[in-house]
């Protein structure tokens, strides 16, 4: 600044830190160097480069003008972009709020549906359990469990009806009714499941169960308490009838307890007219 600067820089600028250096050495050192040289040899080279200065300044003005113009031009575009972005932000925020509301509604719906699903599942499993019990009882499915197996046969040597040694349909009806009375839960005769609609009849020379002819010996299987069933059977009219049949006519009757009796399902589909009342 004093015009005495040489080609070597003062040492302070090397150690003062970058920012300090920037702040102190603001003037191009060349000005000082050239000024010092001009003092030494005052050759007048003034005016030769004045035109260059004018040109450079014109270029500078051009740059300033162009960049100011560009900034000015791009301002409306930037403002429009900004406005568009702001409106987009607002749109998205409104959408987000709407979606949040919808989310809440849907979550409520979901929890409602889950509650009702739980109820339905519980009701369904109760209904399924009830269906299993009822279809076992109705003979719709095969049943297994402890029970008794009765083997009944005509008296030895008896051939025709009316001799007294032949088992009649009423005898079998009485026996089956006695078993039901004694607490049997499922009964089959010669492998045919007895249901509420099963008939036991006498047709021609044979007893029919649901119009299927049977021939002796008759195997009657019943599921129930194997310890209590035989004794209770004897107390029923059917049981007493068979006691009399055995002692009076020699009809063979043998009862065996079993821990596992299998009774098949009733294969016929009987309900053609009846539907559950109150069902849709």
């Amino acid at each position: 600044m004093t015009g005495t600067a040489g080609t070597t820089r003062p040492p302070s600028s090397s150690y003062g830190g970058l920012l300090t250096q920037i702040m102190n050495d603001t003037l191009d050192a060349d000005y000082q160097v050239v000024a010092a040289r001009r003092e030494r040899e005052p050759a007048s080279r003034h005016g030769r480069n004045r035109l260059a200065v004018v040109v450079v300044l014109a270029v500078f003005g051009l740059m300033v003008g162009v960049s100011a113009l560009r900034t000015e031009r791009s301002r409306p575009e930037a403002a429009a972009e900004r406005a568009a972005l702001i409106s987009q932000i607002h749109d998205r925020q409104a959408r987000l709020t709407a979606l949040h509301g919808r989310l809440g509604t849907l979550q409520t719906d979901i929890s409602d549906a889950q509650t009702s699903l739980g109820n339905a599942t519980a009701a369904g499993s109760r209904a399924a359990l009830r269906i299993r019990t009822l279809s076992t009882l109705a003979g719709d499915v095969a049943a297994t469990g402890p029970g008794v197996v009765i083997r009944a046969d005509n008296a030895e040597g008896s051939t025709g009806a009316g001799t007294g040694g032949v088992i009649l349909d009423t005898d079998l009806q009485a026996l089956v009714n006695g078993l039901w009375q004694a607490g049997a839960e499922a009964i089959s005769i010669n492998g045919y499941r007895l249901t509420a609609l099963t008939s036991i009849r006498y047709a021609g020379q044979a007893i029919t169960v649901d119009y299927r002819s049977l021939s002796p010996p008759y195997i009657i299987a019943a599921i129930g308490n194997p310890d209590a069933l035989p004794a209770q059977l004897l107390e029923t009219p059917g049981g007493q009838l068979w006691t009399a049949l055995r002692s009076n006519f020699g009809i063979r009757f043998h009862l065996a307890r079993s821990q596992r009796v299998v009774i098949p399902a009733d294969v016929t589909d009987r309900l053609r007219y009846a539907v559950p009342a109150g069902a849709r």
């Binding site: 600044m1 015009g3 920012l19 920037i22 702040m23 102190n24 603001t26 003037l27 191009d28 060349d30 000005y31 000082q32 050239v34 000024a35 001009r38 003034h46 030769r48 480069n49 004045r50 260059a52 200065v53 004018v54 040109v55 450079v56 300044l57 014109a58 270029v59 500078f60 003005g61 051009l62 740059m63 300033v64 003008g65 162009v66 960049s67 100011a68 113009l69 560009r70």
Partner: protein
């Protein structure tokens, strides 16, 4: 005064003829303007110090503009263009402020 006339001519030409800047150079124009501003204030201060030299001014102007644009270009290639632009503007801004302070001292003797 002819110097100020040149400046005025440049500005007017810039506004009226609207020369199109090549798209490749457009990002460097603002930095170049700041660098040129630094050179112009440096020249003005030298003028007030009485040591103004035409050749030094022309050279410092051109080299300032070129180096500033080059640094920013280099930063763009390296992926730190924004940061380097900020650095260049900070340094040039400090120099401009200091020079303007010196000019103010000359004018107001304060």
């Amino acid at each position: 005064m002819i110097v100020l006339f040149g400046l005025a001519i440049g500005i007017v030409a810039g506004f009226f003829f609207e020369p199109t800047v090549p798209t490749g150079l457009q990002p460097y124009l603002p930095i170049a303007v700041v660098a040129a501003l630094d050179a112009v204030f440096g020249g003005l201060r030298a003028h007030l110090d009485g040591i103004f030299d035409d050749k030094v001014f022309v050279v410092s102007f051109i080299s300032n503009v070129l180096i500033a644009a080059l640094i920013v270009y280099l930063g763009d290639q390296l992926g730190v263009g924004g940061q380097l632009s900020t650095g260049v503007i900070v340094v040039l801004g400090i120099r401009i402020f200091s020079n303007v302070a010196a000019i103010r001292r000359h004018i107001f003797h304060a």
